[in-house]
Amino acid sequence: MVFAGLSFRLPAGGALLLTGSNGSGKTSLLRILATLIMPTGGRLFWGLAPVEGDAAAYRAQLDLVGHQDGIKPGLTPRETLMFWAALRGIEPRRSPGLVEAALTAFALDLVADWPCHWLSAGQRRRTALARLVAAPASVWLLDEPASALDDENQSRLERIIAEHRAAGGRVVVASHTPIELGFATSVALDAFAPLPDDAATG
C-alpha cells in the first residue's frame, strides 16, 4: 500500500494536482481513477453513483495520457490521432476536423505527416497530448504531462487545460515539476503515506 485515508471531490471545471515524491502513488491513483486497477480499499463515485455500477459509462468520460506516449514509430501523428479518434467512437465525418484542430492546438502541423520515429521526445509527448483534443472527453487524467515539453509548449498545454476547464471539463494532473493550473486542489500524496503499522497489515 502506498497511500491511505485520501478523499477528494472534483467538481465540473475543477482541477486536482497530485504531487509527491517518486513512488508516493501518483500513477497508482491515476490508474485507480481510470479503473485500470482496483484500490485495496475505498470507493470511487461518479456523481452520486458508484463507478462499478456502470463502469462503461464512466470510462466513456475519461481520457488518460499516461507517462508512456502510446505512439507507434511507424505511424504519423495524423494517423495516430485518426486511430484514437476512431477508437473513441468519434464519427468518421467529424474526425478529420478534430484531428486537424488537435494538430494545430499542439503546433504539430509541420510534422503531422512524418513517421513518429523522426520526432523528438517533446513532439511525441505533444502527439500523445493531442489525443485530448482529437477525441474529446470530459475528464482528463494526465500523468506527468509536461515531461519533455519546453516552456512554450508547457504554456500551450496549460492554456488548453484552462480552456477545457472553462468548458466544464475536469482534469487530474500528476506532476513533480511545477505546472500552472490556477485554482487547483492540490494533494501532496506524501502526507497520505500509511503509518508503518498500517503498511504491515495492509
Binding site: 490508474r31 479503473t35 488518460l64 506516449d69 511507424g74 505511424l75 486511430f83 484514437w84 467512437g89
Partner: protein, 221 residues
C-alpha cells in the same frame, strides 16, 4: 464498428510497412523451406514424402515469429491501457488484432505456399490441398497464438515462454493440415481433413478472443 475497423487498419498498416512483420514472416518461411532440400538431399521421393509436413512446420514457426509483438508493443507503449478504457470490448479488440495478424501473416503464407510446394516437388492435387489447408488453418494459428501472447505478456524472455506455450497447441492444426495434403496424393479423403481443420479454426474463433481478453485484463492489473 468504426473502432473495430480502425484498430484492424492500424495493425495491418503497421505490419505491411517497411520493417513490419509481413516481410519478416515471408522471408523466414521461404528460407526455412528452402533449407530442407539442402539438409535431406535432393532426392525428390524423400522431399515429396515430407514436403507437406515441412511447409506446414515452416508456416507454424513463421507465424510464431510475429506473435510476440501482437500485444507486447501495445503493452510497452501504453496503448493497451487505452484500448481497455475505450468503448470497444477487449474481446473485439483481440479479434481485430487477430484478424489483422492473419491478413498480414497467415494469408501471405497461404498465397506463397504453392511456389514453395514446387520446391519440394508436390503434385498439382497436393499443391491445391496445401493451399486450401493453409487458408483454412492459419486463422487458428493467429487466434490460438493470441492467447499465448496475452498470457506471456510481461514475462521475462517473453518469446521463449510464448513458444513453449503455443507450439503444443499448434499440434492439432499441424496434424490435420499436413494430413490433408498427404491423403490428397492417394485419393480424395482430403475433404474430411480440411473440414476438421476448419472446425479447429471456428472453435478457436469462438473461444480464443475471450481467453486472450481475460489474460490481457490480468496483465493490466
Amino acid at each position: 464498428m468504426a473502432a473495430f475497423f480502425g484498430l484492424f487498419r492500424r495493425d495491418l498498416s503497421l505490419a505491411l510497412r517497411q520493417g513490419g512483420d509481413t516481410g519478416l514472416v515471408l522471408g523466414f518461411f521461404v528460407l526455412a523451406v528452402v533449407l530442407f532440400p539442402f539438409g535431406v538431399g535432393p532426392e525428390t521421393d524423400i522431399l515429396r514424402r515430407i514436403g507437406a509436413g515441412v511447409v506446414w512446420v515452416a508456416a507454424l514457426l513463421a507465424a510464431l515469429l510475429s506473435l510476440d509483438r501482437l500485444f507486447e508493443a501495445d503493452y510497452q507503449g501504453g496503448e493497451l491501457d487505452l484500448l481497455a478504457l475505450s468503448d470497444l470490448p477487449l474481446e473485439l479488440a483481440v479479434l481485430a488484432k487477430c484478424a489483422a495478424h492473419w491478413v498480414a501473416t497467415g494469408l501471405p503464407l497461404a498465397l506463397i505456399s504453392p511456389l514453395l510446394a514446387l520446391l519440394v516437388d508436390l503434385g498439382p492435387a497436393a499443391i491445391a490441398t496445401l493451399f486450401a489447408s493453409l487458408l483454412v488453418g492459419t486463422p487458428a494459428l493467429s487466434l490460438i497464438g493470441s492467447v499465448a501472447a496475452a498470457l506471456s505478456l510481461g514475462a521475462r524472455r517473453q518469446s521463449v515462454v510464448l513458444s513453449l506455450l503455443v507450439l503444443p497447441l499448434y499440434i492439432p492444426p499441424l496434424i490435420f493440415g499436413a494430413g490433408a495434403v498427404e491423403v490428397s496424393e492417394t485419393g480424395d479423403g482430403a475433404r474430411a481433413y480440411l473440414l476438421v481443420l476448419g472446425a479447429i479454426s471456428l472453435a478457436a474463433l469462438a473461444f480464443c478472443p475471450w481467453a486472450s481478453a481475460a489474460a490481457l485484463r490480468q496483465a493490466l492489473e
